[in-house]
């Protein structure tokens, strides 16, 4: 029973012996979890209203952040760059609806999925042509985001919390609350949900499909911008961000493709668990970098027991 000790006992002993470190790990996990949640939220919104798994959400994050920074670099003041970026995201939403989605209505899911990969490639090329491929600094101070650190010193150690991470978490909570209010209370929001429930029925009571799609893609664009600002503030804006966005997929598997709250809880769960696993099991036992696959494996295991995800609606199959 030699091997049990490092797997089942040592990690917990480590956690207990350095509680400040554990808190730091949990915090780091929470921050990445919030980011995963935000990206997953973009996916869920679009999936709910149009049954499209929008692979382009990741590149939209990069594109929005690049537009913001690019405008600033070209001499537009930060307070103006932000609304201008939103305008660009709106134009993007309209263009995607007109050029890509409308001609593809009623095609199989996989075709729409592939189309969003096409959008991804197009936006990568477009973004690099316009803004160049190099890493850019996010205009954090200019947007009024604090950049210092809060340092607590519990248990004789220290926990360092970046103010911009804290801002990110608070900002994300505000955004999610606004979104939930919008979806549940406003007329447009209800229309989106109606469309998610039943396309035909929604159309028959006079809900305009194309308006709603533009709206949904625009909201996804807003979420992308928020994600881009937060993530860019952590490590600069570059196309490498696009890779991280894939992490939203296991979040969706866990949370279910259609559940807003599932996306949020799934994101936090994955963010925290993968960090804990990496620090206490992955690095000492497996040589590290387990974050690359842990989320997917976890989601796979969950799916084996609950094929619809933790929060998805039960799938009933008919012939």
């Amino acid at each position: 029973m030699e091997f049990v000790h490092p797997i089942l006992i040592q990690p917990f002993a480590d956690m207990m012996s350095a509680p400040d470190f554990l808190i730091q790990v949990l915090w780091e996990g929470t921050v990445s979890g919030v980011l995963y949640s935000l990206i997953a939220l973009g996916f869920v919104l679009i999936f709910k209203s149009s049954r499209i798994l929008n692979f382009a959400q990741g590149i939209m994050v990069v594109f929005a952040a690049l537009t913001l920074v690019g405008l600033y670099e070209r001499g537009v003041p930060a307070w103006l760059a932000l609304p201008l970026t939103l305008v660009v995201m709106l134009i993007l939403a309209i263009a995607i609806e007109r050029v890509v989605l409308r001609p593809l209505v009623n095609q199989p899911d996989i075709i729409l999925f592939m189309a969003t990969i096409g959008i991804t490639m197009f936006l990568i090329g477009l973004g690099e042509t316009i803004f160049g491929g190099e890493n850019k600094r996010m205009i954090t101070q200019e947007l009024g985001i604090p950049t210092g650190n809060f340092v607590f010193e519990p248990f004789g150690g220290f926990v360092s919390i970046e103010q911009k991470d804290l801002t990110a978490v608070i900002g994300a909570i505000v955004l999610v609350v606004l979104l939930l209010v919008f979806l549940n209370k406003s007329k447009m929001g209800r229309a989106i949900r109606a469309l998610g429930d039943d396309h035909q029925a929604a159309l028959s009571v006079g809900i305009s499909l194309s308006t709603i799609w533009v709206l949904v893609w625009f909201i996804a664009g807003i979420i992308a911008l928020a994600t881009g600002i937060v993530w860019g503030a952590r490590a600069g804006v570059s196309f490498a961000l696009e890779v991280i966005a894939l992490k939203a997929l296991p979040v969706l598997m866990l949370g279910g493709l259609e559940s807003v709250s599932g996306a949020i809880i799934g994101g936090l769960m994955i963010g925290i668990l993968e960090k804990l696993f990496e620090i206490y099991w992955g690095q000492p036992l497996l040589g590290g970098n387990t974050e690359a696959w842990f989320a997917y494996m976890l989601a796979l295991l969950v799916l084996l027991f609950r094929p619809q995800g933790l929060f998805g609606e039960k799938i009933i199959e008919r012939v």
Partner: protein, 437 residues
């Protein structure tokens, strides 16, 4: 007929391939030097300034002297995006015409290295690639002047130990590296040093997809609490590591990077907070030097450069200029030796093997103090010029050491072992028996 439509589709490939033969047969009165560049992708941030420097030096020579000894240089780029697949494609595409291949990634270098014996084209990989390439008897076509990664590792250890490696005894040194052939390159040497001088060595890899989100790696560093963190980072990884280091309150004085982790642009993202961060470098920017002034006059002021004006003083830009110097000096040496104007790839190989850049020569060419003097030979394809430790003062890099020289006593045996291992695993591998030193 309509059937032909489909056939056209299929033969499009073939037709285009037939056309490809054309450029290779072009009139050979110019020297073609093609760079496998990457101005796109996650590594563009660090690649672009170097490539700008390489390009501008060649353009400057054309504008100032009409090329090299009267032969115009055609500088061209083939975009790889740091992708090994595109890199191999670019290599195939350019090898007929360009007299040298500059793969710009250790991964691509490893891939084209075996092919150069067959294709007879020299690889110029200044300051990167496979460290055992120093052994010119085995790696006849590969050159990595003026210093290899192992040289860099040795110089860093010298500097952080105050030139007494035994003072590292009992200490813990962490290597934070990109999880790619490039990042793994110095590990064997560090392990050898750790064994000899009694310090603990540990490597922490950063996957390409985690470059911008290194919180797990830095939590591990915080837990291990090492005495030094050395970084073999590239592209977006550098800026990511620096921001995390600031957050983890890791003292910058204990954080040292290899030359590719010393980009001004990366440090600018942390600014003041990065003060004290050091990076070993085999070149030092010297904007007042006559060559840089010429580049400014003939290329930048003439509006031919792709460089954003603010980046003129950057270490990486001026490093690009120095890299082009190596290629051009190789061409010059070959021109003199073979008494010809337009050198070909095989002649350039001789030129690169007989580079002689002593202090007087560097002075004459206007590169005063920008790179350490060195010379290459048949058995030494690196030159081991040494380098300086640069320190970030909050706004720019300043040299804080004299010229450091790597300790070849440790490196040479390892080179022999690894080079031999390479040749054996690729048998039959041609070895130049004439130059056993």
């Amino acid at each position: 007929m309509k059937t032909t439509m489909k056939l056209t589709l299929l033969s499009a490939v073939f037709a285009a391939s037939a056309l490809l033969a054309a450029p290779a047969a072009m009139a050979q009165d110019k020297i073609h030097i093609t760079n496998l560049s990457y101005r796109t992708g996650p590594f563009a941030a660090t690649g672009t300034p170097v490539m700008n420097g390489q390009r501008d030096y060649m353009l400057m020579l054309n504008a100032r002297d009409g090329g090299v000894n009267g032969v115009e240089i055609v500088y061209d780029e083939c975009e790889t995006g740091y992708n090994t697949e595109k890199g191999a494609e670019c290599y195939e595409q350019t090898k007929g015409q360009s007299i040298v291949t500059q793969p710009w990634s250790t991964g691509i270098t490893l891939q084209v290295l075996p092919r150069t014996n067959v294709d007879k084209i020299p690889i110029l990989a200044p300051g990167y690639g496979f460290s055992p390439m120093t052994d010119g008897a085995i790696f006849q076509w590969a050159f990595n002047p003026p210093a290899s990664y192992w040289d860099g590792a040795s110089m860093i250890l010298q500097q952080i130990s105050g030139a007494n490696l035994d003072s590292l005894k009992g200490k813990k040194i962490v290597l934070l590296h990109l999880d790619a052939p490039y990042g793994k390159e110095p590990i064997p040497l560090f392990e050898a040093y750790a064994k000899k001088h009694g310090f603990t060595f540990m490597s922490i890899p950063v996957g390409v997809s985690e470059m911008q989100n290194q919180s797990a790696q830095w939590l591990q560093i915080r837990r291990e609490n090492p005495d030094f963190v050395l970084m073999w980072g590239w592209g977006a990884m550098n800026a990511g590591a620096l921001t995390e280091a600031v957050k983890t309150r890791f003292p910058m004085e204990k954080f040292v990077g290899i030359w590719w982790s010393g980009s001004d642009a990366d440090l600018k993202t942390v600014g003041e907070a990065g003060k004290g961060y050091r990076s070993i470098s085999w070149n030092v920017p010297n904007s007042a030097s006559s060559v840089m002034q010429d580049v400014k006059k003939h290329v930048i002021d003439a509006g031919k450069s792709l460089l954003p004006p603010a980046e003129f003083d950057y270490v990486f830009y001026q490093r690009g200029v120095v890299i082009s110097l190596f290629a051009i000096e190789g061409v010059k040496a070959a021109q003199a030796h073979f008494n010809t104007q337009v050198v070909n790839a095989e002649q350039l190989r001789w030129g690169l093997e007989n580079l002689n850049l002593d202090a007087a020569k560097l002075e004459e060419l206007g590169f005063t103090g920008m790179v350490g003097p060195f010379s290459t030979s048949c058995s030494n394809h690196t030159g081991h010029a040494g380098g300086w430790m640069l320190e970030w003062d909050g706004a720019k890099f300043v040299p804080v050491s004299d010229l450091l020289v790597a300790d070849q006593d440790m490196i040479q045996p390892l080179i022999e072992v690894e080079a031999k291992k390479y040749a054996e695993s690729n048998a039959p591998w041609p070895v130049n028996e004439d130059c056993k030193s």
